[in-house]
Symmetry: C2
Subunit: 436 residues, 2 copies
């Protein structure tokens, strides 16, 4: 049994939250001051502001600017303890979570372990096309991108040099659009003066989307605007083409081959494997099908929230896998647990409130949608800037991020261009993240 | 042949500098504007401000605050190109450097590959007691230190818990003193409110020095002051005791055993193995014995500078392995190459100018020595603060570092407390840095 279960207030009901992302964090905070013991369990020590993770991957921000220790964020919540461990099993009958280093008995369980990137049955692509979900993913991508320019500088054969300057981003959702826009800026504006033999401006950035348009979550007019803004920056956009193969030399689109030594994957997500431990019905993307109140069928004391939850709205559409939805679900469940502790039997259904969507493309280029209001270009970019600074955790981070962005804006420099983790740049792609 | 050798100005003499640390960088800059082609070769893409590396290892600063890409720092120097590669051989007769990915012919060669940490014939200790020379070393130490507190929080057995809260730093030079002082502050001031089951204030930090006093490079009165300041902060200082064994459970001092799960190594350095490629006489620490002008005996076109150079001053003492000495040697050699290109035969001997020494211990605690002037406590700390901010590379870094320090000073918080690189905290020590 974990030490977390045997403290002085052991008689209070125990709420166990699995996952310290936006959902788990919101649930935890909503329980501040309630007569419960809360244990927040994560296998990482930090909360990650994922919407800005692409900026770490493209050397614009340092990792500590978008990640903060869970303990530090939650240190003032006296009824809460953070535990660093990994879930290995859930015994719904015994109300017990089994972890790698102990177990936890719960009265309420909130499962908020999120999603990971998925390769649609082509796991062999991961080796060549890393995805972007964790800080380690971001470091791997940063390393690959920066070393590609170094390889080009060293290469004397023109075709091989160009292959190092070719970048392909697979997936036209917000992450793909943001990565492509930042990569082309890196190549055209940050790096050119620094190389003597190869010209980073000759880099090509191609964005491949299998569906008919970029940013499918946005209004079609904004998809067109986004495409136009990306193309003006220099990105080559391909929609309606499916990737059929990825290897060390590039990407296959049916009969066509795009030679590229650097391929980034932003095409698909699958729910966290922790969902399978619940033994409940999963949808096609691995999400747990929950009741309208977000509880597990047959287990009113177990809730699933965030990207792991498969929830259908009244209009028949699924709740999107975005940070605001996860936060709203966390608050909903936190409030319901509080009410339940006060004797209430009510189980209000979760209702998703769409506060709008934002995707940034580059300097002064973005799209935004708030209900009927649609913005693009500079106005959308300004809203994006303010919103992201506002939602960043911790006053210090906001200040440093603002400073970093102001600096990058005026100088075109990016300060986080550090390659670490093995000194000798090798020609072969590194093993996928997570390998030893 | 590297592309670096076949550009338009190929007829100019070619200066190859191996290593982008303080020495190599100073030599490169001294050659700005000279009628030469300069190639600066490093196996890492960044210059590292090593005097502050312990702050990355103890979660006070983010890596990009103390490291900047060599290309970015040197981008305005038109006669210089940066090459990311690793030296594998030096052919002194053919004036050629062999690298992993090509070769370079030189007219002048400056070898500035520095030093690494050494275990005095006990390489098996590295696994348990990582040293601190590179960013990867700092990330490994940060990970070990932060996870030790997580292990203590999970552990229910009191003796095993205390072993996770015991830290031993081996080596009482500036790095050891700085690490010990920062660790005790982390335990006593940053972390306490954040843990629920273990109390970080129960952490013990022990500093072991085999010699008779701390900071042997300083005046004995300052060694005493440093010891007093460390002890007031809570560090247990042991001098005159040699470590005879290190394993996963702690440190052996002869018959005595200090149980500790975290041991840090700051006890010894050895010159870079590149020195051996020169086929010249090495001293006991592996430094290349050079002539008074820093050139290799019999090879007036080859220079060795920085921590790799074994130079004896007029007073019979060796030039210390510190950043100012490396910078001075770099400038000396750069100036001599310039003079030589203008037909001068003069080979002035290198003279080390001691600008003083500084070592920080903690909040408002430091020692400083400038010739006869000796400072300790708040005054030394103020000088240390100003000097380090002044010498940091790049305006932006200085600003961010100042902000970080101000933040840490007022809040006791440290913002870089991010653990990445493998999710599941394991009981066994990680492989040493550099392993796959």
């Amino acid at each position: 049994m974990h030490a977390a279960a045997d403290n002085a207030s052991a008689s209070l009901p125990h709420v166990v939250i699995l996952g310290g992302g936006f959902g788990g964090m919101a649930a935890a905070r909503r329980l501040d001051g309630a007569s419960v013991r809360v244990t927040l369990l994560d296998r990482r020590n930090h909360h990650l502001f994922q919407p800005l993770l692409y900026q770490v991957a493209t050397a614009s921000l340092a990792a500590p600017s978008i990640a903060a220790p869970l303990r530090q964020i939650l240190r003032r919540q006296r009824n809460l303890g953070v535990l660093l461990d990994e879930v290995t099993g859930i015994d719904l009958a015994a109300h017990r979570v089994q972890c790698a280093h102990g177990s936890l008995d719960y009265d309420f369980l909130v499962v908020a372990t999120g999603a990971t990137h998925a390769y649609f049955g082509h796991d062999e692509w991961e080796r060549y096309a890393p995805g972007l979900k964790t800080l380690d993913d971001a470091f791997l991508i940063r390393r690959r991108v920066l070393l590609a320019f170094e390889h080009a500088e060293r290469e004397t054969d023109p075709a091989r040099r160009q292959a190092w300057l070719n970048f392909v981003v697979v997936g036209g959702g917000s992450t793909g659009v943001e990565l492509a826009g930042t990569l082309i800026e890196l190549a055209r504006h940050t790096l050119p003066r620094e190389f003597r033999h190869s010209d980073p401006r000759r880099a090509s950035v191609r964005l491949i989307e299998a569906g008919p348009r970029l940013l499918p979550a946005f209004d079609p007019t904004l998809s067109d605007k986004a495409r136009g803004q990306l193309e003006r920056l220099g990105v080559e956009v391909h929609t309606g083409v499916a990737v059929t193969g990825i290897d060390a030399d590039g990407v296959k689109l049916g009969e066509r081959r795009l030679p590229a030594r650097t391929v980034l994957w932003a095409a698909g997500v699958a729910a966290s494997p922790v969902g399978r431990l619940l033994g409940a019905a999963l949808d096609r993307a691995g999400r747990v099908q929950v009741l309208p109140d977000l509880s597990l069928p047959g287990h009113p004391e177990v809730f699933v929230i965030g990207d792991l939850a498969g929830v259908v709205q009244a209009n028949g559409k699924p709740v999107p896998g975005v940070a605001p939805a996860a936060k709203q679900m966390g608050r909903h469940v936190g409030a319901m647990i509080r009410a339940c502790l006060q004797g209430s039997d009510e189980r209000p259904p979760f209702r998703y409130r769409d506060d709008g969507s934002l995707a940034t493309i580059g300097r002064m280029a973005a799209v935004a949608q708030f209900g009927k209001l649609k913005l693009s270009g500079f106005s959308a970019w300004s809203v994006w800037l303010l919103a992201h600074i506002y939602f960043l955790i911790g006053f210090r981070n906001r200040l440093v991020v603002m400073l970093d962005w102001a600096w990058a804006y005026w100088t075109h420099q990016r300060h986080a261009r550090i390659v670490s983790g093995g000194d000798i740049p090798d020609d072969s792609p590194e093993p996928p993240p997570g390998s030893p």
